[in-house]
Amino acid sequence: MFDIQNINGKGLDFFRELENIGAGHAATALSMLLSRTVSIQVPCAKLCNYNEICDILHGPENVVAGLLVGISADIRGFILLVLDEKDAEKLTQSVMGDIADDMSEEERAELSTSALKEVANILVGAYITAISEMTGLTIDASVPDLVFDMAGAVMNLLAVAYGEFGDHVLFMETEFCDQSDSLFGHFFLIPDVESYRTLTEKMVGY
């Protein structure tokens, strides 16, 4: 039976590199969007128990913004962008500027959601393009879906994706840092098990 725990050091290095390139491109895209420097922390790829994931996001009840994009074609699965509620607001604010000042509360909320989704689309688009170029695989992205909820509930998806195959998940994340404002975003690449194999096959030639 497939066991995600069999990923060895070299495998993790490969996924770390994927994350690095994907998130690096996404940071460049974000940087252009905000006209500010956005840097990324050294990406991480590791196996961890699903109960550990929420600790990284400050506990299962911490409210986060989760932006989910489904991916299909050569590899299937999800890309999940998780931002702290405050950071999501900051990001939205810097994208929208003062255009929403004269709007009603309702209009503003609608526009914020739409703006955040658009940012996600740009980030995930850059991320996918980078990974696609690196591996030579075709990857299509779905329309992003945005939720604000408890970190535990949002991260359930990650646990469910690998739950049948063991107590561990492949955890890949990158932190974004906007120098003036310190904005932290976590990117998760969640290939399904079959796609995970497809990706590791690419590792041979890498």
Binding site: P60, G152, V160
Partner: protein, 182 residues
């Protein structure tokens, strides 16, 4: 906090059982726990997962499990039974009885099984919350355990806390902000 501490001081040794001052045990994903009144059981941030409690009101024993998926894989040797609805409930019943609960008195409550994201991509994967709830109900029906209350489905994450003394289940959501007692 201050008033709470004050209450503790005021409590007479012969105080009746209405004063509930138990410990809270919090369980994680795919974990389970049995506790006795007045202690409480909690699990935080349920998304598509289901928090299921069994209760024997007379013996004041409660059991909680945080179920993640509906079905255990076939050749399932050495799996964590608490992870899958079809194996977790039987295991919880067994542990309840072992701790002194009576099989015939067991009743159930459940919460969770939300549909967190509305993306239609990879659809079989997305409705796992609904399938979790259905499987839990199916197993409970087959075991003739009555469901007293449920707060399932919808699109919100939930945190739950169960009082083994009163059998009350507190369900909390953050979007929208709400607290329900079921």
């Amino acid at each position: 906090m201050d008033t709470f501490a004050f209450d503790i001081k005021r409590q007479e040794p012969s105080a009746d059982r209405q004063v509930v001052l138990g410990k809270v045990y919090t369980i994680g994903i795919a974990e389970h726990k049995i506790a006795h009144g007045p202690d409480r059981l909690a699990t935080l941030g349920l998304g598509s997962c289901v928090g299921l409690v069994l209760h024997d009101a007379t013996a004041r024993i409660g059991g909680m499990v945080h179920v993640m998926l509906p079905n255990a894989p076939q050749n399932a040797a050495g799996i964590n039974k608490s992870k899958f609805a079809d194996t977790a409930i039987d295991e919880l019943i067994r542990l309840m009885i072992q701790s002194g609960a009576m099989r015939a008195r067991l009743v159930a409550k459940l919460a969770g099984g939300a549909h967190m994201f509305s993306t239609t991509c990879n659809a079989d994967f997305m409705n796992v919350g609904e399938r979790n709830v259905q499987m839990c109900k199916k197993i409970l029906r087959e075991r003739s355990i009555r469901i007293l209350a449920e707060d399932t489905g919808l699109t919100s994450g939930r945190s739950i806390e169960f009082c083994c003394e009163t059998g009350q289940l507190k369900v909390r959501t953050v979007s929208p902000k709400s607290i329900r007692l079921i």
